[in-house]
């Protein structure tokens, strides 16, 4: 009986949390499309999410491209397919590793910061102060972050894709003995629009998820510094898990036959 009670409690808790998150999301999305929109705040968040994340996303993409070239060359040499290195690097980066790794890195950098900032505003009554100053916290705090997340991550991923491919090119031409023009030809000959577009769609979804989780956990944080710490951890963990889950869903939508 105790076991059944415990399972029931967990299941009910899961549905309650899902319901709360769904309502929060619906409320937040409504404020994203309903005027007034605060362009100054959106621009500030775009700088924070896009520009300031560029170094970490760029470095991640560069090393990923380099490692991918080495691994694929090493693996494909077992069946004499070394010539596919450039093609597999570009497809791997644009379709999968670019958006997923950028999403995870931004979740760690931006999602955590959002949860900590909004969580601190919650426990220091700054969010209540917004309400008493006739300002809707969803409009002022949440909507700009969601808009910035969903628009900036595709841009970041696009730049990351280029850097990642360049990483593969660097290793391919300097270490693996590929001719420069052959490597580039193999890169672009087999690359299709859908490879890039699917990656950018993923990036848009991941940017939204990162911002949503940061805002949701920060907005609902309780209990002082410990609560803010818990919100920060929850924001990163939940965003990371959701990114991987939605990665599968979007891949299925684009590429499943």
């Amino acid at each position: 009986m105790n076991f059944v009670t415990a399972v029931g409690r967990v299941v009910l808790g899961f549905f309650a949390a899902t319901g709360r998150l769904s309502l929060f999301t619906a409320h937040a999305v409504r404020h994203c499309v309903q005027p007034p929109i605060y362009p100054r705040l959106v621009a500030r968040q775009m700088m924070s999410i896009g520009y300031y994340s560029l170094p970490v996303v760029g470095l991640t993409a560069l090393f990923t491209g380099m490692v991918l070239a080495l691994q694929i060359h090493s693996g494909s040499s077992r069946f004499n397919a070394e010539g596919a290195v450039a093609t597999i690097v570009v497809i791997g980066i644009t379709r999968e590793l670019g958006p997923v790794l950028a999403g995870l890195m931004v979740a760690g950098r931006v999602g955590a910061a959002m949860a900590a900032e909004i969580g601190t505003m919650r426990v220091t009554e700054q969010i209540d102060a917004l309400t008493t100053l006739s300002t809707n916290p969803f409009k002022y705090l949440i909507a700009p972050r969601l808009l910035a997340g969903a628009t900036m991550l595709p841009l970041l991923v696009f730049v990351g894709d280029i850097i990642g491919v360049f990483g593969g090119y660097l290793i391919g031409t300097t270490k693996l003995g590929f001719n420069s023009s052959t490597y580039l030809k193999n890169t672009f000959d087999f690359l299709q629009t859908v490879d890039v577009v699917s990656g950018l769609v993923k990036a848009c979804a991941f940017g939204f998820i990162v911002s949503l989780m940061g805002c949701y956990h920060g907005y609902n944080s309780r209990g002082g510094a410990q609560g803010v710490g818990r919100a920060t951890t929850s924001a990163v963990v939940s965003a990371s898990v959701l990114i991987l889950a939605f990665d599968y869903v979007i891949t299925e939508l684009f590429f499943a036959k």
Partner: protein
């Protein structure tokens, strides 16, 4: 109070889980009156204030501001109502991502859509009203002492010339001199605006100074209310114990034995 009250609470109830915090609060505040609600920690003072502001939804009862029922009020209506209200938070609640003048001008820019230069002029004037120079306006709130933050929060609360101002523990955490300075500023600002004020505090010196009328809350009820001069003459044992800060009396602190 011959006219209808500016703020009126009737049978307001609020619980958190099993804990009943407000158990049928009744309170009227007249136009231009300064009412101070006193009571120990955890007696429901802040919850009552947040129920009036709509930050917490009461379970039942009635909360009227200027005769208009605010329970279940639409968000847009509440935002309009909030433009006539100022609030000083216990911890000041200044936005640390903005400078001091942007904090003071926040309501003017966001709610009244004033151009930034005009809002800044008003903010500087309000800062001067609470004894702070224009140079303070360029600082971040984190660079200010607790007393200065409280002054900035007061300037923000009066920036839009509100008709109603709420003060949540305005002197808590301040030294007695700074506490008295804040009390004087509250009296001055409220008089200049002709505003209605509701303050909550457990600082009796502050209550005596800023109140026209005092009400005491205990276990979610208003158990006594009267003119500030009557507070030392009342026979109410709860009020007598609280006002004189006595350990012995009907109010028992929940202290666990060591």
């Amino acid at each position: 109070m011959s006219e209808s009250p500016k703020i009126s609470l009737r049978d307001v109830h609020k619980s958190f889980g099993d804990k009943v915090v407000l158990d049928g609060i009744d309170l009227d505040i007249g136009d231009g009156e300064s009412v101070v609600v006193i009571g120990g920690s955890g007696t429901g003072k802040s919850v009552m204030l947040k129920c009036i502001l709509g930050l917490i939804a009461p379970e039942r009862g009635s909360v009227k501001v200027e005769g208009v029922e605010t329970m279940g009020m639409a968000t847009s209506e509440r935002e309009k109502m909030m433009r006539r209200i100022g609030m000083l938070f216990q911890g000041s609640a200044l936005f640390d991502s903005l400078t001091v003048w942007e904090n003071v001008a926040f309501g003017l820019i966001q709610a009244q859509h004033l151009p930034r230069p005009q809002a800044k002029e008003i903010a500087v004037a309000k800062l001067a009203q609470v004894g702070l120079g224009a140079e303070v306006g360029e600082l971040n709130p984190a660079a200010l002492s607790g007393g200065m933050q409280k002054r900035v929060a007061l300037a923000r609360a009066i920036a839009t010339d509100p008709e109603i101002i709420f003060f949540d523990e305005p002197t808590t955490g301040l030294d007695p001199i700074m506490g008295d300075v804040i009390n004087d500023l509250i009296i001055k600002c409220v008089r200049e605006l002709g505003a209605t004020a509701l303050s909550i505090t457990h600082d009796m010196a502050s209550a005596r100074k800023i109140a026209d009328r005092v009400a005491m809350i205990h276990k979610g009820h208003i158990i006594w209310q009267g003119h500030v001069a009557e507070i030392d003459e009342t026979t109410n044992a709860h009020v007598h114990q609280f006002v004189n800060g006595l350990a012995e009396g009907p109010i028992q602190m929940e202290v666990l034995a060591p």
